[in-house]
Chain length 226, copies 2
């Protein structure tokens, strides 16, 4: 049996008018139909907005592509799970018995989803300003750490530098498939590193974006941290 | 030479304190470095949030997957371009000479991006409430049209029904590649319709999501309208 969520509300620094929203936010779909999936949808959206606005002001000279990459770093699953762990969200999760047994309270995806759902709950309970304040508080340390120039580099550049530092040949990008009508095409590109006998794919609305996505997946696969 | 943007502000129904923001919002990157790309990043984010919140209340019983699909319909390029056309955004666009000659003011992607940038400009100029009101006004007709049950169906179901209505065999879904570490995998699935000699791919963080994406691309390719 999980604890009451009062302690979690304290950790977050937000007092719910309707604590039922916080209860729903920590309820995984394995625990029943009254779960956090709809709140997660809402929280994901408000988080994307607040972080976008924040980056827009914090990096007045960064082009759109850099802002997108910085946002992806801030809202990625690992970052959210890390913040959720600092708030002890795992202690409050309501999981079905299967997830309980398999240690679901420690899993990144479940923790990240619950954190987003909590943000969605705050949005419904207290409105946008309260939710934004809360996001600023929870993410402040992360934003401060983002100024390093390295994080502004795109995945293809980072992959190239990683390989060069190891005296390895550069990756080969090859178009795999193109689907969809003109002006709405989807490109799938393969990124191959022969020296490491490994390949990844990435897709996007342009060849360039698909190459960046494939490079990003390769960095992920190689375990290159940001 | 494009017109002053006063007429556009009137059409949108929002008076800018700083009309320079609206000027920037209609400036395509082909027209110079002081363009609308950063505002578009902001507008895309606030639009995603406002539409998510709206759908959350409008469809209290819809599960998360349906809310995501409905949002994708509301914020897709064609919808945004359509709204931009009704506002005559094309008349106010500032384009470089190459884009001008090739008719960029009629292109969906340029119109959609400009509309998002306008929303980003309103967010900066008037704050969140003003921007949300504006989005509600511009998208009201679209949301009303969304209640049809058909739009709540997922792409695989819609593709299956489309093929059955034409007495064609069902599509075959085949795993193409899996990349990434455990719990962070990316799946690429192929959707093949032998009777039509056509195939598409889709990717996602689960096999199920990748299949839905491949089916969605197939519907797009077959020109099946929503």
């Amino acid at each position: 049996m999980s604890r009451t969520t009062d302690g979690l509300a304290n950790a977050i620094g937000y007092a719910f008018d309707d604590p039922g929203l916080l209860d729903a936010a920590v309820t995984h779909r394995s625990a029943g139909s009254h779960n956090n999936e709809r709140l997660e949808f809402l929280g994901d959206a408000v988080l994307g907005h607040v972080v976008a606005e924040w980056l827009y002001s914090a990096f007045p000279d960064a082009p759109e592509g850099q802002l997108s990459r910085l946002r992806a770093i801030l809202v990625k699953r690992e970052t959210l799970a890390d913040i959720a762990r600092k708030l002890d969200v795992g202690e409050y999760l309501r999981l079905g018995s299967g997830e309980l047994k398999s240690g679901g309270f420690r899993r990144d995806s479940i923790l990240a989803d619950a954190l987003e759902a909590v943000l969605g709950g705050i949005l419904l309970d207290g409105g946008f300003d309260a939710c934004r304040d809360c996001i600023h508080r929870l993410f402040a340390g992360r934003l401060d750490g983002l100024s390093a120039a390295d994080e502004l580099k795109d995945p293809k550049t980072r992959l190239q530098e990683y390989l060069q530092s190891r005296k390895l040949a550069l990756p080969v990008y090859a178009m795999h498939t193109v689907s969809g009508k003109a002006h709405r095409q989807q490109f799938v590109v393969e990124c191959r590193i022969d020296a490491l006998s490994t390949a990844t794919t990435g897709n996007g609305s342009s060849r360039r974006k698909a190459e960046q996505a494939a490079a990003d997946n390769m960095l992920e696969q190689l375990g290159v941290s940001r």
